[in-house]
């Protein structure tokens, strides 16, 4: 008997043994391409850990629609071309029911045409505006956009009567997109960018750029748009140069690591952040308090490491997908897509999601909290 025959016979047995039981045990397959290694590893690593943790938790409590979840994941090593290849594999040979992933905007955009063509719901974990603008039928995303971060910062500046701002952005994808969006929305808030400088993501000294910004005529505040270690070095350089301008950062530094790296120099830095960073300080009446605190605790218990806001995006993406499948009552792709689009008032770690046919992210500015660094900790800014 050759192999194929054996398989056929086995399949026959399974069918005979009880069609109902076999179907019920058939897992819901969740496909994910994440940047677990490479430059975006600090995003992809907590994302994968979060997905694995949440899938385990759901399976322990009986799964979804009586079926277990199965996570099929690949690491694109922060390479958009690889993400495309893995996306194809997930759709064509792994036959997943839904895609949750795409750590960077580049990886996501390389998989968007695949999801659109195959007609498979895709919840991205990346921040870029192009993912949801123009709206794509099958594509959703969980993090706020960089435009919202800029808007939140400008809102705060406006309240303080600041109108002349020096922008220092990173030349990475995150910073470049942030720079573009910042320039685009500045006018709406009556803000003029009196200086506009950049630095490389691996640069080790930004005092030259800061000296230039410091000398810009009429400057009232500094806004830095970057990710990871760069902003921490900028913050140290600001202290070194004795610059006392109000200092704003983007949500790219929303971590305790930033405070540790920048040390005392971080005092007074303000930034828009998801609530996760201040989970324990949220008001008890906050609609997302319960979810955030539970996620932060689970993550810490499981991995002995603080949960990051990036892992939070993955948590929200998966929970949105699970919620949609539950409401659809099936894994039929079109029905799940419709359910995702109809998500209303869904409390997750990043904020309360309410999607619509024209909004595939479903967050507003209130999902960002303005925080300030005080004595080595993040507190709500006044």
């Amino acid at each position: 008997m050759n192999k194929r025959m054996t398989l056929k016979v086995l399949a026959g047995f399974v069918l005979v043994l009880g069609t109902g039981a076999a179907l019920a045990a058939d897992p819901i397959r969740i496909g994910s391409v994440l940047s677990v290694t490479g430059p975006a590893a600090f995003l992809g690593d907590p994302e994968l850990k979060t997905l694995q943790m949440v899938v385990e938790r759901i399976n322990k409590s009986g799964g979804v629609l009586g079926r277990q979840l199965e996570l099929v994941h690949y690491d694109d090593a922060t390479d958009a071309a690889k993400a495309n290849g893995f996306g194809k594999r997930l759709i064509e040979s792994d036959k997943v029911d839904i895609l949750v992933g795409g750590t960077t905007t580049g990886s996501t955009m390389s998989m968007v045409p695949l999801a659109e063509k195959a007609g498979i719901p895709f919840v991205s974990l990346a921040g870029g505006v192009p993912i949801i603008e123009p709206v794509k039928k099958w594509v959703f995303k969980t993090p706020h956009t960089d435009r919202m971060a800029a808007e939140k910062v400008f809102e705060d500046m406006k309240k303080k009567g600041i109108s002349k701002v020096g922008l220092l952005s990173e030349t990475s994808g995150f910073g470049a997109s942030g720079k573009k969006e910042t320039e685009a929305v500045a006018g709406k808030y009556g803000i003029t960018l009196v200086a506009n400088e950049t630095y490389g993501p691996k640069d080790s000294d930004m005092t030259a750029q800061l000296t230039k910004i410091k000398g810009a005529p009429g400057i009232q505040a500094l806004f830095v748009f970057g990710l990871g270690q760069g902003p921490a070095i900028v913050t140290k350089n600001v202290a070194q140069l004795g610059i006392t301008l109000p200092h704003y950062e983007s949500h790219g530094v929303a971590s305790d690591e930033f405070l540790k790296l920048a040390g005392k120099a971080s005092e007074g830095v303000r930034m828009p952040s998801p609530a996760l960073l201040v989970a324990d300080k949220l008001a008890a009446s906050d609609p997302i308090k319960k979810v955030v605190v539970a996620y932060a605790k689970d993550y810490k218990d499981r991995y002995k490491d603080d949960a990051s806001t990036f892992g939070g995006y993955a948590h929200d993406g998966l929970m949105l997908a699970v919620d949609a499948i539950k409401r659809a009552g099936t894994t039929d792709k079109e029905k799940v897509r419709e359910a995702l689009e109809a998500t209303k008032g869904f409390a997750a770690t990043t904020g309360v999601y309410s999607m619509s046919a024209t909004d595939h992210m479903g967050l507003d500015l209130s999902a960002f909290r303005m925080l300030e660094a005080k004595n080595g900790d993040w507190v709500f800014a006044k």
């Binding site: 400088e197 490389g200 030259a208 004795g242």
Partner: protein, 291 residues
């Protein structure tokens, strides 16, 4: 105006000194084997990351530093034993490609064992900036500059006054002749890798309080260090230092006076022009090839 210029200069010199230390490592190995060791950046990374690991394991800073440098030297020798020697007889280009592979392995292992996060430890003499004519300079920058100067002086003495140093130079000049006069060229290879790994690690330790460190800092430092080494004329210690400082200062001036957007292009444009007009670098030997 003067204070601005000084600030740009300090910024350039600080960054340049880190490039110089990387360039020195390239120079050492190039001298001994004519191999351009693209894993040099990883030795720098190892210095910083291993010190961080030592400190977080509870060791006092000086002990952690010493251990990190020693460990990097051992890694350098392991590289020779398991990557360079098995390819004995391969041409230089193959060896260079092997070093790229080595750098990927070292970086990957570090990411797995020590994590992917960014770390730092406190500066040696505080982080209160020094004020000079309206510009500011961190005390740690002086440490970097001072140690770089000391290392250059020591290396100069080592190569011109000690038998071992001369053996390395002889091997570089003519491998066969060196073997014939009784120099173990094998030992020289081990020694030069260990030395340049230790040197790179020392540089990594010194710059970490300023630049911070993570498993992937080696890529950029290695690349800029290579530019600096070529600029100074490969194989020349003093040239490496001058090249490093030049690249750093040119970057800072470009960021300050033109636009930070062009900053990273500056060293590469510099090297293009240099290769056109002075193909052996600023301090390279002026050799005329006989036809």
């Amino acid at each position: 105006m003067l204070s601005e210029f000084l600030q740009f200069l300090f910024s350039g010199v600080t960054v340049g000194a880190t490039y110089a230390l990387a360039a020195l490592g390239f120079t050492l190995i190039y001298n001994a084997s004519h191999v351009i060791n693209f894993a040099q950046g990883e030795f720098i990374m190892l210095g910083g990351m291993l010190t961080v690991a030592g400190v977080s394991a509870g060791l006092p800073l000086p002990v952690a530093i010493a251990l990190a440098i020693a460990a990097a030297a051992v890694v350098g020798m392991l590289v020779v034993r398991f990557a360079i020697q098995p390819a004995k007889g391969a041409d230089v280009v193959s060896l260079i490609i092997i070093t790229i592979g080595v750098s990927l392995v070292v970086r990957g292992l570090t990411q797995i064992s020590l994590g992917k996060g960014t770390h730092s430890f406190p500066a040696f003499s505080g982080s209160e900036p020094l004020h000079v004519l309206g510009a500011t300079l961190l005390p740690q920058s002086l440490w970097v500059l001072g140690v770089t100067a000391a290392v250059v002086a020591l290396l100069g003495w080592f190569f011109s006054r000690t038998l071992t140093g001369k053996a390395i130079l002889a091997t570089a000049y003519n491998r066969l002749a060196a073997q014939l006069v009784g120099i173990s060229t094998n030992k020289v290879l081990f020694l030069s890798f260990a030395l340049s790994a230790a040197l790179g690690a020392l540089g990594g330790v010194l710059v970490t309080p300023i630049t911070m460190t993570s498993a992937d800092v080696g890529i950029m430092l290695g690349l800029k260090g290579f530019v600096a080494a070529v600029l100074g004329g490969l194989g020349n210690g003093l040239g490496a230092v001058v090249g490093g400082l030049l690249v750093g200062v040119a970057e800072a001036m470009a960021a300050g006076y033109i636009s930070s957007a062009y900053k990273d292009a500056v060293p590469f444009v510099m090297i293009l022009f240099l290769l056109f007009f002075l193909p052996r670098g600023l301090f390279g030997a002026r050799v005329t090839e006989r036809v």
